[in-house]
Symmetry: C2
Subunit: 148 residues, 2 copies
Amino acid sequence: MEHPDLRRAGLKVTGPRLKILEILANEALGSHLSAEAIYRRLLVQATDIGLGTVYRVLGQFEAAGLITRHHFDGETAVYELNRGEHHDHVVCMDCNRVEEFTDDEIESLQSKAAQRLGFEVIDHALILYGRCRRTACPHRLAAAKSEP
Amino acid sequence: MEHPDLRRAGLKVTGPRLKILEILANEALGSHLSAEAIYRRLLVQATDIGLGTVYRVLGQFEAAGLITRHHFDGETAVYELNRGEHHDHVVCMDCNRVEEFTDDEIESLQSKAAQRLGFEVIDHALILYGRCRRTACPHRLAAAKSEP
DNA sequence: TTTGCTGCAAATGCTTTGCATGTAG
DNA sequence: CTACATGCAAAGCATTTGCAGCAAA
């Protein structure tokens, strides 16, 4: 079995790494998993992988650039498979739904702003916190209840 | 003694609260303190305030909108007194220097991007990670050494 | 075989909390 | 006087690490 991603990263191809990679790959776009969440999915699959290993492997994947770690507001870290292009996030403060987006204009304005301050931008994190229009969103349910 | 900020927040005016507020107020603009850092400054002043209290008070201040908590990349939380207008941050990955900036154009593009996804933006966090041009920055020192 | 990987459990570091006591209003 | 604050120490969580055994190359 070939596994160029792991090989390229100088990591041995092992069961735990493949499983975790698979779990991340099977996630819907825009879905973000915590180490715990990944661990739970591994438990369901009746594997024998420890939480410590999950953290270790995620750390290696991140260092290898295979995945990205996010900290939405300083909550527990969540991870997402890198599928090419960079993107930013919008998080619903009521239902925790996360949407992704990109905006080239914002990106270029960011570089300019940094340049003005004498910085060269290497990376950035842009997270918008707000409320979504989804019908199932707690915020909308509450609003609906008060106006019958 | 008047203390409208605390009063308005429904908080009793007590020694610990005043001290902590004072420490935050005396910080230079763009300076960000962790709970530990605040606690250390309190120790120096020979006060008898516990670290637990520092966390509790900071939580109340944040809830009251007096201060803002940041998590640069998921590191330990740092706090900063709210002095009116919102701003974003640039962090040097080498020397940890933090600069603040605002960019109305970016702000408005953010709202538009969110709107496209059906979100109303309540708050946002924009942090640029990069390298600064400061002479004392480790990155520049290293660069200088390799090109004599 | 050799080097690197894993499970487990213990350790860490930040942050929160319970409780008895103290104090602002 | 009463409600809220505080100090202290213990508890909580997410994450990291040490180590002895296991497995990929």
